[in-house]
Symmetry: none
Subunit: 125 residues, 4 copies
DNA sequence: GTGGTCTAGACCACA
DNA sequence: GTGGTCTAGACCACA
């Protein structure tokens, strides 16, 4: 469910935070859903447990996850979790902006980029 | 001509590298154009000369700038600066992949994302 | 394992870069092998950590080393380290050209030069 | 007669010094032969006159060239100028050593390198 | 004038 | 623990 890339320039804990935020916003992680334990996830991705822990803590202080004593963390009861389409697009904006900038720097036409993006969106990962 | 923000989380030398790349790609810095000397630019932005020097060195090893001994650095005559379209698309791939992943996690449809991207690509930055 | 000579006219960071390249090419540093940490090596050779760091960074941008966050750098899994024979010969070309020029200026015959080169190539360094 | 490459990592004055030494050793510059004036040579290679001047001065202090008031420099009357084959090979040694080292680092076989070198030696430049 | 190297040492992000 | 960034400032090579 989670994809962590240790070679990315984005810190691993940040990758995890971003993904949880999106999965909650998109409704794939419903309120009450339990997340893998720190250890489980650390093992699965061969990552330091502290890294997972840091991500969870950030998400907790943000109000998106909540800690349950002795049990794994779970998605908090919805406040404004599942966002409107507009709000979710807003969340995507920094990435879109960066892509647009890169494309222009590479002197690629809109068509070429969109063609490629369409292809990737069609593939289920 | 160059804007360096010491409070950004992007390292100063990286900001400079990015801007030179963009200005060259966009044609605002033509091959042969001279850049401000390390000391000049360091003074102007009250930054340590080594920080500027690091950026210039990276751009040189990238083949974008060339040293002229005793004179300031200048934009290299373009050779493979403009790679083939396929090669440039390849360079964009990681960003496109990441965007596609985010979009799926946000449960956004291809249309919504592409619509937004088109808008951004049309805006000249 | 590494020999750094502060009195050489070759910069210290360059000496290190050269040696790592050689050790990797020669197979003495296998993919996955860890290098001494920046601090370790700096202490051992009484050199400033930044000097070591510069060498490591260059080797990373070259694709020869890879960073493991929180752990020392290690030799990257070889990919295009071994390029085609033609490509590697191409890399040697400037040196071959320079040698040919020198030989002609010294009025040395092809045989004499090649004889000498053969001898050197046979010696394991 | 002289080839100066401003993009080489070898300083320009050093390139000139090396070439004069070789041409004298090889007998192509005979004792008494006049060299181009500093200005002439600087113009021809679009190089700073000081650079040529520095090379000439070094060669003079070495005893290879001599200054004649109001006239261009000329090759000094031979002492041990035209060297024996062995001596001339000795002069080539650093370049041969470097080439052999590079070849080994690139994992190229002796045959491949020698093949290439032969080709270059045959071409008159 | 130009850029390059190096040290001393602070401070930071990440795991 | 790991490496990265930055400054202050010395000293050098080259043109």
């Amino acid at each position: 469910m989670f994809i962590l890339n240790p070679h990315s320039s984005v810190p691993i804990y940040q990758q995890l935070v971003d993904q949880v935020r999106r999965l909650v916003a998109g409704g794939q992680l419903q309120p009450g859903a339990e997340l893998p334990s720190v250890r489980e996830m650390a093992l699965e991705h061969t990552v330091h447990p502290m890294t997972i822990s840091k991500a969870y803590s950030l998400l907790e202080s943000e109000g998106l996850l909540e800690r349950q004593r002795g049990k794994p963390m779970r998605v908090a009861p919805l406040k404004k979790n599942q966002a409107s389409t507009a709000a979710r697009l807003k969340q995507l904006e920094p990435q879109i902006d960066a892509l647009a900038l890169s494309a222009r720097q590479l002197e690629l036409s809109a068509e070429e980029v969109i063609e490629q993006l369409k292809k990737k969106l069609r593939e289920k990962p």
